[in-house]
Amino acid sequence: MQINGKVWKFGDDVDTDVIIPARYLVTIDPAELATHCMEDIDPEFAGKVQPGDVIVAGKNFGCGSSREHAPISIKAAGVRAVVAESFARIFYRNAINIGLPVIESPQSAKEAETGDLLEIDTDEGNVHNTRTGNTYPSTPYDTYVMEIIQAGGLMEAVTRRVQAKRQAQ
């Protein structure tokens, strides 16, 4: 998968409370959640992000609560992928499960700045920055995680299993 997108850069420890504040957790409607994406770290973000953009951040992106509303709001806001030095573990799983590409690439995350254009190749496992000309590797996905990604999300994978089991019976 090739993802090319304009960068919005954030720092370390971006937590789920700033990604989608709890006051908005009274809905599971992606479009509504998208309008509040990143609101408590950058109140203007939802208004200026363009479909196809990418978020780049430092260490421990998505730390805090288990709210899946966080990756949902990012995905529904049109963000194509999140690149970070590292991800908090619940957020990482949630993103994979709902089909938001999360790319761990410490060097490219450190180097990228807001406005840069990144060319992400998830098959090759690298991230190219057109401003600096540098290409850095991304951490490969576990086989199990790759299967979820290829199925199009966790519930798609689970549903296939359920159907296969039914047919076997």
Binding site: D17, R23, L25, R89, I90, Y144, L154
Partner: protein, 418 residues
């Protein structure tokens, strides 16, 4: 090669003699939990499978606690989706008035046992490590998958062993120990690892304090926190369940990613200043920080021993005129016991409110949301920007005694300063 407690639990749940750090295993789950915020999404994802029934209704639990009693119409609708699904499926369900905060209620009802694998769509599901379980938080979709299959996948985490030595000062508790630990290692210091809490200090530590520590393992980025099973665990659990207990212990030759030793003999009551739980300082060194609100309660510190500590500080004293003090029991059982022991009267006589059980203010839901520029001392577990309300409000984390003392002082301070 020896195994840690966490590895033994995962081996058993995977039906294997042993597991290796870093490998992905599929494990049977003993309990699957969601709440009013996370359940609606889990339910809609579960429906996608076409299955009519959850894998085992007696292993699926729903607890309305975050925005209930419903704070507004939308919250009421979310809670209703969960309630109706629980009824339809015949799962375990704890209605308000007969329950409280999930991580207080589940143990009270004997649902969190040693050796179990417990997953919940709430990041503080790691709380049950205090009972020698492997318990961890996941998102709604992972929980939906587990409700369908009765299994989940886990990458076997490495374990970091924390050894607490020395003699714990009397005015220092489990909350101080975990804040100290997070302050030392940082909010991703135990990234994806299991925190195993050990040492003479832990052996002597009461259950409620252990629960507070396990509860905040996630604030160090951990997959879970876990404690060995001992007489204290047994006494606590046999009071609430007659189910057989199957504890696990770490082998002497178990392999740890790291062993970290802390001598805590000189530890002081601590606070975590905004906006990270790792921003830890001694409470009595912060003398010039006025506050507007104090919240006492939550899945971290809403249990009887917490409320008793608070009552000791508040009794015969008055909450500072500039402070709103909100005391929230962790469950209906805690509320009843606190009333019976006269604690509710002490709180109200001191000028605090004693509310119904809810997560409410901890995550800026309701019952104590902060305005712009306001500062709150809280016994909860997170102080991220905007956590309790306006993005320009502040939360300072601490244990029950410092929270109560701060309510009286009108600023951040310790009981020694009263």
């Amino acid at each position: 090669m020896g195994q840690t407690m966490a590895e033994k639990i995962l081996s058993r749940a995977a039906g294997r003699p042993s597991v290796t750090t870093g490998e992905i295993v599929e494990v049977d789950v003993d309990l699957v939990m969601t709440n009013d915020i996370t359940a609606p999404l889990s339910i809609s994802e579960f429906r996608k499978t076409g299955l009519e029934h959850v894998f085992d209704p007696q292993k699926v639990v729903f607890v309305p606690d975050h925005f209930v009693p419903a704070k507004d119409i939308k919250a009421a609708e979310q809670a209703k989706i969960m309630r109706e699904f629980a009824r339809e499926q015949g799962t375990i369900y704890f209605e308000i008035g007969r329950a409280g905060i999930e991580h207080v209620v589940l143990p009270e009802n004997g649902l969190t046992l040693p050796g179990q694998v417990i997953i919940g769509a709430d990041s503080h599901t790691c709380t049950y490590g205090a009972f020698n379980a492997f318990s961890t938080g996941m998102g709604s979709t992972d929980i939906a998958a587990a409700m369908a299959l009765g299994t989940t996948w886990v990458r076997v985490p490495p374990t970091i062993k924390f050894v607490y030595t020395g003699e714990l000062p009397e005015d220092v508790g489990g909350k101080d120990l975990i804040l100290y630990t997070i302050g030392q290692i940082g909010v991703d210091g135990a990234h994806y690892a299991v925190m195993e809490f050990t040492g003479e200090v832990i052996d002597n530590l009461p259950m409620d304090d252990r629960i507070a520590m396990a509860n905040m393992a996630i604030e160090a980025g951990a997959k879970t926190g876990i404690f060995a099973f001992d007489d204290k665990t047994r006494d606590w659990l046999t009071a609430v369940t007659d189910k057989p207990l199957e504890p696990v212990s770490s082998d002497p030759d178990a392999v740890y990613q790291q062993v970290i030793e802390f001598d805590v003999s000189n530890l002081k009551p601590l606070v975590a200043l905004p906006h990270l739980p790792s921003n830890v300082h001694a409470a009595d060194e912060i003398t010039d920080m006025p506050i507007h609100q104090v919240v006492i309660g939550s899945c971290t510190n809403g249990r009887m021993s917490d409320l008793r500590e608070v009552a000791k500080v508040l009794e015969g004293r008055q909450v500072h005129p500039d402070v709103r003090c909100i005391v929230i029991p962790g469950s209906q059982e805690v509320a009843k016991q606190a009333t019976k022991e006269g604690l509710a009267d002490i709180f109200m006589d001191a000028g605090a409110i004693f509310s119904t059980s809810t997560c409410g203010p901890c995550l800026g839901g309701y019952m104590g949301v902060l305005a712009k520029g306001e500062r709150c001392v809280s016994t909860t577990n997170r102080n991220f920007r905007g956590r309790m309300g306006h993005r320009e409000s502040e939360v300072i984390l601490t244990g029950p005694r410092v929270a109560a003392a701060s309510a009286i002082l009108g600023r951040v301070g310790s009981p020694a300063q009263l």
